[in-house]
């Protein structure tokens, strides 16, 4: 990376610093989470410049409405990724964006962008192949649809032609696999 040093804090320190609205908190927040959040955003908003706009919006919203976050409700990233996903979905549903992309075939775009993004995945993470093999294809496709593409599980069921109950079970199994894998 061109950047000389990334700032990293523990989650407790970061939350405290964000509450105090310290400048270092903003820097740490960006350095620790921008890539993960951008990974989610750029799967929904395929245009890189648009996705970067959304990422900026996300950080502004996190920063300004941080008082709404409570550690009791779960992990910081869970809260942030929901903001990112919602703003990204708002973006593609906005009229401007629809007009801009109305002549493009959505399915093809998603596929081609996924192919592009594969080359941008962190190359230093050699474990990713192993991770992909950990999940069964049907588990991965549901998880990715809901987590990365912002589908509701109802929409995912529709899309994949699978009953709702099966969707829920597969999602849970996928996450259990992940937990095993990461532990």
């Amino acid at each position: 990376m061109a950047r000389k040093r990334k700032i990293s804090l523990s989650e407790e320190e970061l939350v405290r610093a964000l509450r105090n609205r310290e400048k270092v908190a903003a820097e740490a927040l960006y350095d620790m989470y921008s890539a993960s959040l951008f990974g989610v955003i750029s799967r929904i908003v395929t245009d890189t410049a648009e996705a970067e706009d959304v990422l900026q919006e996300v950080f502004v919203k996190i920063w300004n409405s941080f008082a709404a976050y409570s550690a009791d409700k779960g992990r910081l990233f869970t809260w942030m990724v929901n903001i990112a996903r919602n703003l990204a979905i708002d973006r593609i549903r906005s009229r401007d964006f629809k007009n801009q992309t109305k002549n493009q075939d959505l399915e093809n775009t998603v596929n081609s962008i996924d192919e592009q993004r594969n080359t941008a995945y962190k190359p230093e993470l050699l474990g990713i192949k192993e991770l992909v093999e950990t999940l069964k294809p049907e588990q991965k496709s549901i998880l990715d649809l809901v987590y990365f593409k912002g589908y509701t599980h109802v929409e995912a069921a529709d899309e994949l032609g699978v009953p709702l109950g099966t969707i829920k079970t597969r999602l849970r199994m996928a996450i259990i696999q992940l937990r095993k894998y990461f532990n």
């Binding site: 990376m1 061109a2 950047r3 609205r21 400048k23 903003a26 820097e27 960006y30 350095d31 921008s34 890539a35 993960s36 959040l37 951008f38 990974g39 989610v40 750029s42 799967r43 890189t48 996705a51 970067e52 990422l55 900026q56 950080f59 502004v60 920063w63 300004n64 009791d72 409700k73 779960g74 992990r75 990233f77 869970t78 990724v81 929901n82 996903r85 919602n86 993004r117 941008a120 995945y121 962190k122 993470l125 474990g127 990713i128 991770l131 998880l143 809901v146 987590y147 990365f148 509701t152 599980h153 829920k168 079970t169 999602l171 849970r172 996450i175 992940l178 937990r179 990461f182």
Partner: protein
């Protein structure tokens, strides 16, 4: 406990973490999590797993974006911390940007001007000093030049006297009052001019109250030809008052400014043709 296990296994916690729940479901999960540590721990585990999953799929945004985002946060930070009216905020938002755009240029321009000013002042002082030196030099040269030209014109006159055949040279000898004294007088009856030669004079130096007076004797009548001083430094010829007639020349010591008739007891030298 069975209820809790079933609740965990229902998959609702996963949907909660994935943000795919209704508002009521959300509140319900949060209530359950607050009541039951097992549910809270499960939520934590699920959250950690999907966080790591997202981390594995991270995509680095461009490096420039970092500053853009941080600047927008810091701007907000400044807005939040200062309780100024909206209008002021607008002004505050505009002014720093302008300054950021131009401050570099003006800073360097000002520094450059200042350096130029100092250099110019130093150069001016130097030039002024040199000019003064030159003026002093010119004045002293002019002075010197004047002295030279005076000397030259005097020498010219002296040489003219010596070359002119109408001039008669007369060496006046000392009287009994001052036997050692002597003075050469040059006189041209044609041109009526009279000079005395201080270079070959042998006269005692006069004091401040007295001066020597040159007399021409025409018949037996003395005619004053002016006064002069004698000192060892004087080496020039001195032109006296003109006379066309003279049988003899004499010098007396008189009160300063001279007398109308010579004091015979103070006669120093006398010469006859």
């Amino acid at each position: 406990m069975e209820d809790i296990k079933a609740y965990i296994e229902s998959g609702i916690l996963e949907l909660y973490v994935l943000g795919d729940v209704t508002q009521e479901e959300k509140l319900h999960v949060e209530t359950m999590a607050a009541k039951h540590a097992a549910i809270k721990a499960e939520l934590e585990e699920i959250g950690r797993a999907v966080e790591q999953y997202a981390d594995e799929h991270a995509v680095e945004p461009s490096d420039e974006l970092r500053n853009r985002v941080l600047n927008s946060l810091v701007t907000n930070l400044a807005d939040d911390r200062t309780f100024t009216p909206q209008r002021d905020n607008e002004i505050d938002n505009v002014v720093p940007i302008r300054r950021a755009d131009r401050s570099g240029f003006y800073k360097y321009a000002f520094a450059a001007c200042f350096v130029l000013l100092i250099v110019s002042v130093v150069a001016l002082i130097n030039a002024y000093r040199k000019l003064n030196d030159s003026n002093t030099l010119i004045a002293s040269l002019q002075n010197q030049n004047q002295r030279f030209s005076n000397t030259v014109s005097l020498k010219d006159s002296e040489i003219g006297v010596l070359r002119d055949p109408t001039f008669k040279m007369l060496r006046m000898k000392g009287t009994p009052k001052s036997p050692a004294s002597a003075l050469t007088v040059a006189w041209s009856p044609v041109k009526k001019k009279v000079w005395i030669d201080m270079a070959t004079a042998d006269m005692p130096a006069n004091d401040k109250e007295h001066q020597y007076q040159l007399w021409a004797l025409v018949g037996n009548k003395p005619v004053s030809l002016g006064v002069f001083n004698a000192d060892t430094a004087s080496k020039d010829m001195v032109e006296m008052e003109p006379t066309a007639l003279a049988d003899a020349f004499a010098v007396t010591l008189e009160p300063k400014g001279g007398s109308s008739s010579p004091t015979m007891s103070e006669m120093m030298v006398l010469g006859k043709f």
